[in-house]
């Protein structure tokens, strides 16, 4: 409108103040990008080896995952999320089929989890994608109830969420199960569940958790991780039965502590360089940040995460409809739980569970799923006026 002459087709768009591209949350996008780039560096530092020739393969693969994740997130962001609401049933059913299929001989068992499709180049972990699917589905269902959550509707929601949770638990993947479990009450709370219902739910949860812990349904190593966290016992002589977990926790704390205030610099951490921390590129990537960048760098990482969470929370608040709010809150719950649990277990204030640190840990499925989740939030945020 400011220009004279021929009107270009874009001009109409430019005038459309509600157009989604005008409301992209660049801060959120930038923060996620920063963390993902840091993640590439950290995966490289944790896997390149102590001396030349350095290994680039895992870092290169993670770069591919980030690119794939960005594309997937972009696709998710482009489709108006109202369509997703319409397709919620199909998304839900599709996720359930994947979760069932992975339990069949089609899936493969890696590190004790029957939770992977071996696609040759990389292994797809459907439970990661199912998290996003479940957030969309129960968000849609809760939005259907328009904030009127009585006991019956809560039970319906719990059953809808319980099926994927049960299927993931059947894989033997306790960590991912806990992420699912964290999402549900948060969404219920924001969707209007009464505090007393949630209190009953909490009590029931504690009873179930205790039962699971004592029933023998869990593997010994899973129990060990929990008891190690309680005792913080790093003495190999007394933590014989907890050798894996105790050693891992001990090395993680030492590595983070070694970083000190300013860190040892990129590739300067001897613990990271010499591979003292098992699974450092995945579940214990936080220690690589801790050692190399110290309190200042790690604090900045947590601040970036905080910024991401803040922007998601803000999007939830500004969302045009309940569905948008609930989906954002689901994503928020998923990310907060993963960040807190993962960095918490790295620092010894949470029990060890196999949960990756979003955008930082090496891993294809989780990276792509997290980008898709961010895509959802960007989608909702950018269409708040549409």
């Amino acid at each position: 409108m400011a220009t004279r002459g021929n009107r270009r087709p874009m001009a109409s768009l430019r005038r459309d103040q509600a157009a989604p591209w005008r409301h992209i949350d660049w801060v959120l996008l930038g923060a996620v990008g920063c963390v993902a780039v840091l993640g590439l560096l950290m995966v490289f530092s944790a896997t390149r080896g102590a001396r030349p020739p350095y290994h680039y393969s895992l870092a290169a693969k993670q770069l591919l995952f980030v690119v794939l994740g960005a594309i997937a997130g972009g696709v998710v962001a482009l489709i108006d999320y109202h369509h997703l609401r319409d397709w919620a049933v199909f998304i839900y059913v599709g996720a359930m089929v994947m979760l069932l299929a992975v339990l069949s001989p089609l899936g493969s068992n890696i590190k004790g989890h029957q939770g992977w499709f071996d696609l040759g180049m990389f292994q797809l972990q459907p439970s990661e994608l199912a998290k996003v699917a479940m957030i969309v589905s129960i968000g849609a269902l809760a939005a259907q109830f328009r904030g009127e959550l009585d006991v019956r509707r809560i039970i319906v929601l719990l059953v809808a969420a319980g099926i994927p949770i049960g299927l993931v638990l059947l894989q033997g993947d306790l960590g991912t199960t806990l992420v699912f479990v964290a999402i549900v009450p948060t969404v219920l709370w924001v969707a209007g569940a009464r505090p007393r219902h949630l209190a009953v739910l909490a009590v029931a949860g504690i009873i179930v958790a205790t039962g699971v812990l004592t029933s023998g349904a869990l593997h010994q190593y899973q129990k060990d991780r929990f008891t190690v966290f309680l005792t913080q016992d790093s003495n190999p002589a007394t933590s014989q039965s907890q050798k894996g977990a105790g050693y891992n926790l001990d090395q993680a704390k030492i590595t983070i502590g070694h970083g000190g205030l300013l860190g040892k610099g990129l590739f300067g951490g001897s613990q990271t360089r010499t591979g003292q921390v098992p699974e450092q590129q995945t579940d214990f990537i936080f220690t690589a940040v801790g050692e190399q960048f110290g309190f200042v760098g790690t604090g900045m990482l947590l601040a970036l995460y905080g910024l991401i969470i803040m922007r998601i929370w803000r999007t939830a608040q500004l969302a045009r409809d309940d569905f948008g709010t609930y989906v954002c809150i689901g994503v928020l719950a998923m990310l907060v739980f993963q960040i807190f649990e993962n960095s918490g277990m790295n620092m010894g204030i949470m029990p060890i569970a196999g949960i990756p640190l979003p955008f930082l840990s090496y891993g294809g499925s989780s990276t792509i799923a997290n980008f898709m989740a961010i895509g959802l939030v960007l989608n909702i945020g950018s269409r708040r006026f549409a």
């Binding site: 030492i254 983070i256 502590g257 000190g260 613990q271 010499t274 995460y305 939830a316």
Partner: protein
């Protein structure tokens, strides 16, 4: 929407929960990375790094003129890297192949097998990151083979190891000592020092190798490496090169040392010509020491029988170790000059004379009648009659003559009179004088295992009698003083103490600590002196010049016509100076020959050298010990310098049971057929091919050697 709580509040609650969780993370991060960082950092460094030590080359040992006595020679060692071997699938096959090769090329006494190599690999004295040595002195052909087939021998490595090299063969063996694996006690003692030892370190275990360890050792290098959790070395973080040990210059003059050892060996061989008495062959062993009376520096220190220190390189066999400590061959490892004690016999008259002079029971001029026998003052029958040694001159002697002729009666009387005057001079005038000359305690020379000797007193005899339960002789009698006066009885001294006592007399009364250390310098840098000790005074007595003159006149007379040692010294060319000295013949047990002593010094008028010699169970000192000192001083007296020796002494074969008495006493051959005990021909010490020829041929005259101009000092 619920009426109970607005959506705004519900989202607010979510925000608060999130903020709380992040606050918890920050708090924990602060705790780990700020509050506890030092502690965790320490653990991290311990876990991810290891410090390897690199042994420094051991310092050299040289004589005072810079002739290298001991240094290091590289040898190839086949060693196994346990870390690398652990990664090999068929490690047993590799070890078996290696065992076969080692047996084929090295011909070990005990063949290598898979089992005994595996046993060696358990050696916990070698650090986990150090290769375990299997065999030394590797054949070049084997090295080439292993290099060419290195892929078939993962974990097998050829290392260069430094071994001690003794340039003068068996010369000064007991003095130099040897190196060996550190003992657990030594390791533990140095555990918390600035430079702790590794358990597989080699240290000096005897002689100056032990006493000068702190100079010779050097500073180990440090290599800091990073390791993964399984202990595999990933990379090197830092390297500090080892600093070689310092060069230790001994006060020894290797030419004098060679001369002393030769003179001693010659004399032992000569004495062994005599038939054995009651199954005890004569002259099994002896020792001689040459020192500077005005500094305390020892120029030569010989002990015989001896051994070849090469036996200790790289490690001594059990059989050889047994031989070195075998009583049947008279303990070749024993340093008789510092670690063995003997009754000094007449050489002790020096002390008796001074005690008598000091107490006033004699003057230098007092004449004493010596009829050949002596009975103690106031003795009532039955009396013990003390005799002069058989064949001694009798007559009336003043002090100088009494010393020259070694009149026992003269000194019996001095001892007896001193005991009778005990109310005036105390019970121990002789013992006090002995103590003033350093007898009865260690001299402090830098050699481990030095004996203190013993000077008997009424007090000590009483204690001894109580210990052995002798009620009959539980005190001190005139006879004890009479015996002590001529250096008999329970008096014990080392040859070094005796030499040092004579040094004290001839230098005017100052007793120096005998020392073997001339200087310490940086490795291979003779001008960079690390330490050069000054003569250390450990005692002094004032000797009135008249008394000293009388004693010196007596010692001078001993080598002149009428003196006890005249027979030996009258044939010596004393162009440059006279030699003076004192004979001693100390009784041992009834069945054996007496111990032969001689202490001499030269020049008689201005003594620069003092030598003392013991020849065990050989007979008269004049015949059996004096020739050693005569032979030692002869080249000095004739030319003013010691003949130069080259670093190969074929005539000093290391002893074995068969070359020692009693079975054979003549294997010590003297090139040129020089009669034992006579003046040595300098050709003997020259390095010539014919010097290795057995007796009967003439040695080629040559004075070439590393130090052809080696001076006397």
């Amino acid at each position: 929407m619920s009426t109970e709580t607005s959506p705004r509040v519900r989202l607010g609650v979510v925000a608060i929960v999130c903020i709380s969780l992040f606050a918890a993370l920050f708090a924990r991060l602060w705790y780990l990375q700020v509050m506890n960082a030092p502690a965790y950092s320490q653990v991290a460094v311990n876990r991810s790094t290891r410090v390897l030590t690199v042994a420094p080359p051991r310092g050299r040992i040289l004589d005072r003129n810079g002739n290298v006595l001991v240094d290091n020679t590289p040898t190839k060692v086949v060693a196994l890297d346990r870390q690398a071997l652990a990664k090999v699938k068929d490690a047993d096959a590799v070890v078996s192949r290696l065992a076969g090769l080692l047996n084929q090329y090295q011909h070990p006494k005990k063949p290598f097998t898979l089992a005994n190599i595996k046993e060696k690999l358990k050696n916990n004295r070698v650090g986990p990151y150090e290769p375990v040595p299997l065999a030394e002195g590797i054949d070049d052909n084997l090295l080439v083979f292993l290099t060419e087939h290195s892929s078939e021998f993962p974990g097998v490595m050829a290392e260069t190891q430094l071994l001690r090299q003794y340039h003068y063969g068996p010369l000064a063996a007991q003095l130099l000592g040897y190196v060996g694996p550190i003992s657990d006690a030594q390791w533990a003692a140095a555990k918390h020092s600035k430079l702790p030892y590794q358990k597989d370190d080699q240290v000096g275990r005897a002689g100056v190798e032990q006493s000068f360890e702190k100079y010779l050792r050097g500073t180990p290098g440090r290599k800091v490496v990073e390791v993964d959790p399984t202990g595999r070395i990933l990379r090197t973080v830092s390297v500090t090169d080892p600093v070689p040990g310092d060069d230790v210059y001994l006060s020894i003059n290797i030419n004098a040392q060679a001369l002393a050892e030769k003179a001693l060996a010659d004399q032992l061989a000569a004495a062994r010509q005599r038939p054995a008495t009651l199954g005890y062959p004569p002259a099994p062993a002896g020792g001689t020491v040459l020192m500077q009376p005005k500094t305390g520096q020892v120029l030569a220190l010989a002990s015989n029988p001896t051994y070849d220190p090469k036996l200790f390189v790289p490690a001594i066999s059990n059989a050889d170790w047994k031989t070195i400590n075998d009583p049947a061959v008279h303990f070749p490892g024993l340093n008789r000059v510092v670690s063995q004690v003997y009754s000094p016999g007449s050489t002790f008259k020096l002390v008796t004379a001074l005690a008598g002079l000091k107490a006033g029971v004699i003057t230098p001029q007092t004449p004493v009648d010596d009829p050949g026998t002596y009975q103690v003052i106031g003795c009532t029958a039955p009396c013990v009659t003390f005799h002069d040694a058989a064949g001694d001159r009798t007559g009336t002697f003043a002090l100088p003559e009494a010393i020259s002729a070694s009149s026992d009666v003269y000194f019996y009387k001095v001892g007896d009179q001193l005991w009778n005057a005990r109310s005036r001079v105390g019970e121990t005038p002789i013992q006090d004088m002995a103590a003033a000359f350093g007898f009865g305690k260690q001299t402090g020379i830098e050699l481990p295992g030095e004996a203190a000797g013993r000077v008997p007193t009424p007090e000590s005899e009483k204690k001894l009698a109580a210990v052995i339960g002798n009620k009959q002789y539980s005190g001190w009698y005139s006879g004890d003083s009479v015996n002590l006066a001529i250096g008999q009885g329970d008096l014990d001294v080392t040859p070094l103490q005796l030499a040092n006592a004579y040094s004290q007399l001839v230098n005017g009364g100052t007793r120096y600590k005998p020392t073997l250390l001339y200087k310490v310098t940086k490795a291979f840098e003779p001008t960079k002196v690390v330490y050069k000790p000054a003569p250390k005074v450990v005692g002094h007595i004032d000797i009135p010049p008249a008394w000293q003159a009388a004693l010196l006149a007596g010692f001078d007379g001993a080598t002149k016509p009428g003196g006890t040692a005249a027979g030996v010294f009258d044939s010596i060319d004393m162009t440059k100076f006279d030699v003076a000295g004192k004979t001693g013949t100390a009784q041992t047990t009834q069945e054996r020959f007496d111990n032969a002593w001689f202490v001499g010094y030269a020049p008689a008028q201005n003594p620069q050298w003092v030598a003392s010699t013991i020849v065990e169970q050989a007979g008269f000192g004049a015949v059996n010990a004096a020739p050693v000192v005569a032979q030692l001083f002869q080249p000095l007296a004739a030319t003013g310098t010691f003949p130069t020796v080259a670093p190969t002494i074929p005539w000093l074969a290391p002893p074995t049971a068969t070359t020692l008495p009693p079975s054979s006493t003549t294997t010590t051959t003297i090139p040129g057929g020089v009669p034992a005990g006579s003046i040595p021909d300098t050709t003997v010490f020259g390095q010539g091919p014919t010097t290795t020829t057995p007796s009967g041929t003439t040695g080629e005259t040559t004075t070439s050697g590393p130090n052809a101009t080696g001076g006397p000092n």
